[in-house]
Amino acid sequence: MAEVRITGLVKRFGDVTAVRDVELTISDGEFLTLLGPSGCGKTTTLRCLAGLETPTGGEIAIGGDTVYSAARGLCVPPERRRVGMVFQSYALWPHLTAGANVGYPLRAARMAAAERRARVAEMLEAVGLADFAGRYPGELSGGQQQRIALARAMAAHPRLMLFDEPLSNLDAKLRVGMRTAIRRLQREIGTTAVYVTHDQEEAMALSDRVVVMSESVIQQEGTPREVYTRPANRFVADFMGFENIFDGTVGEADATGFAFHPSTGGPPLRVAGPPPGPSGSAVEVAVRAAHVRMVPEGAAGEEPGVRRAVVRDAVYLGGRTELTVDAEGLPITVSVPHGHGTGHEDDAVRVPRAGERIAVTLSAGHAVVLGRAPIPAGASA
């Protein structure tokens, strides 16, 4: 019912293009996250959905109703789109009590008073603030304000919920709790949700589907697992926290994978899967530090894909130690987990220290071959 269809969405502010040719279909009841760094166009896209921003071009339909169409010169104002929105600054009205804030959308929909009271009580109950109806926002903590804002946005059972970085002003512990509350409420009400964040963990914990944006365009969309393990291009890999991204060329290929020659020279590394092109063609490969394995030093030169390395730096990070090594001219970040993850000296795997000689290899199955970043239409080549 409340399927959202965005076609060819463009938003320009003067000379600056904030959103460029965004195509997106969000199915009914889906929880979709727009993920990206600040200024990537994710919030502008969200505000175009809410009707707070008038796009420059394209078309938006919510639940089959076209709410914006550049071709037809149509733009439905926000108050007639039947959406709910949670703002980053909460935007609770300080002159209204928590209960009146939650009841506001119901009042706007001209719901009868008795029914409205019941719904407000139900919503406050759902966010665990049943006893706070009479409080003013100034008398609530940040987390409580956020929950009131959530209750308000969902009170009228909107067909589409919009979240604009709602958790960025909360501390880490509260965030996890709020995440659960948001997901639970969204499922209960069965609404479609679009969530904007720059926090990849938040995006993965909440979403059915993640859309990574950068430079005003969509870089990749997929399930959290796909985006996390198989980034489509260099930007997504970097943003999703891949510590190692190498430039190089394709070498010999066989049934299980191919040899990868880093541009810094030296013996090849092994990457699983079919090569992206003929031998000698350029390729980018990304590997997480956790997927670089230490092997016995003697293996270097014996097994394919193993390189000798010298530890330049070792940083203790609690559950693991992160090594920066020089692998025959190629700098690689290696993550060494401690035994049982407790970080105690006595149960630790022996972690090499700075200056020690080791040998490393990539876990071939986890090395990702990156594609080209989409070239924004209209951008000069």
Partner: protein
Amino acid sequence: MTAGGRAPAGAAPYAGVPRGLPARLVARARGIGPGAWALAALCTVLFVWPVSMIVVAAFHDGLISDPGGTWTAGPLVETLTDPGTLAVLGQSVLLAGVVSVLSMLVAAVFAWMVARTDVPLRGLVTPLMLLTMVSPNLFFAISWDMLGNPRVGLINQVVMAMTGAERGPIDITSWPGLIFVCVLKAVGFNYFLILAPFLAMDRSMEEASLVSGMGKIRTFFRVHVPLLAPALLGALLLAFVSFLEAFDFPQIIGLPAGIRVFSTEIYRYISGDAGGRYAEASSLALVLMVIIVVLIAVQSRVLGRRRYTTMSGKSYRTERWSLGPVRWLGTAMIVLHALLALVLPLIQLYIGSFQSFFGLYDNWTLDNYRRVLDDPDTVSAITTTFGLALVGGFATMLLCVVLAWVVRTRPGLLSRYMAGALWVTVTVPGIVLGMGIMWSFLSVPGLNQLYATVWIMLIGLVIAAVPVAVRTAEGSVAQIPAEFEEAARVSGAGRVRAFLGLILRLLIPSFGYGWLVAAILISGNLAVPLLLASPDVATVAIEVLNLNRSGDTATAAALFGLLLAVWGVLAVLALSARALGRRLKENR
């Protein structure tokens, strides 16, 4: 970011009457140095004592210094029961009420245009309002008195020439005329009181309402109005108070129309046709002050209840409202206001100053200027005025900056007392202040020698300029973190040295601006010098009033025109010096 952080200094002196737990405050006060005590004593002498003397004088028959006078409540009772007092009260409230409401509406429209819309020429509004705010009341009173003259005023002349009528349609000496001129001045004042809340309002508040399903009109009444109400109400009340005690406008424009308000009546009791009735004057002043205190107390009570902290958070930059063709209506409003408040009055003032007799349009002459500059009395008034303005303006700003800094950085009993003393000055109209100073100096042997000298006038003018200057000072002091002083002291500088060497130096640019504003304010003040002047010591404002009263309008215009011209030149010089300084800094 948090509401519980260091309180903004801007609100401190007006936050309410000092109160608190005496024991705790006394304990805190022990750590206060002699400098703070001296400052508090100065506050007492300057602010508290003159006001107390008004109260005392209300119960004293005859001049306060007169040993033959008797103590009596008679005049007070008489004043309170006199139906004439009720009429004065009624007219004062009518004037203040209408002016404050109208000017607030106009100011709100201007502030909204500047903060939210795409009206062309909106960039002119703030400089325009600044000029209206710093221009002396006397400027508007004198020039509109000329401009709105039914026979020879510029506007009526134009209308008469076009219609061939005998008399112009506009007579400024009337209720509508008085209200109109007061509104012109008040808009500038109110604009700056409400611009900040308009600019500071979180856009997501209204966006949340729109998304919730409320249309623009319902959002306006349910979100904008209640959110801005505290700021608008506060400004409204302040405007009401300042026009309840207005003197210049009613004296020049209102009296000929038979309009009598508190300040003009008090003046009449002292030196007008009913002169010498000092106890009655004090009693009337007392009534006025009680009303003002009650109003301010009500205001802080009403506003204190709910806490309208604007939630912080990254606010999304949004485009201005596009008003379409309606925006030209806004431009028209801006141009019209500029014409009525500044351009036409200036033109009329200078045209008038070149007429051999005000209203004769065929005999242009420099005689008026010659007369002004040949008369030793007016020349001495000009030098006295500029001396008072420059010295007094400096003293006022210095006092206000020091007080604002102390009140902000040293919480405790003494600084609460100082904030309270500063607050007292807001409640005292100029004419009442002049009276209070007169009483307090006359009653002390030795100090009474100062009476009728330029010094007593200086003191009076400084006190009168404090309420405005302290706002400028607080604004600039608030921009300097208290940590700067702490850092200086940790580095080994003493408290006074840290203030003089560091804080004051950082304040120099805004100090200069405040000095200029205070100086202009002082030079245009009419009420205070009127009571404290003597035949030997007069100011331009007094001479202008006297010339205007005796019908020599053209000479009055020339004299006032000279004053404005000098300020104009000084302001231009100051601005270019600043621009030059900036350029030198950039080139370095």
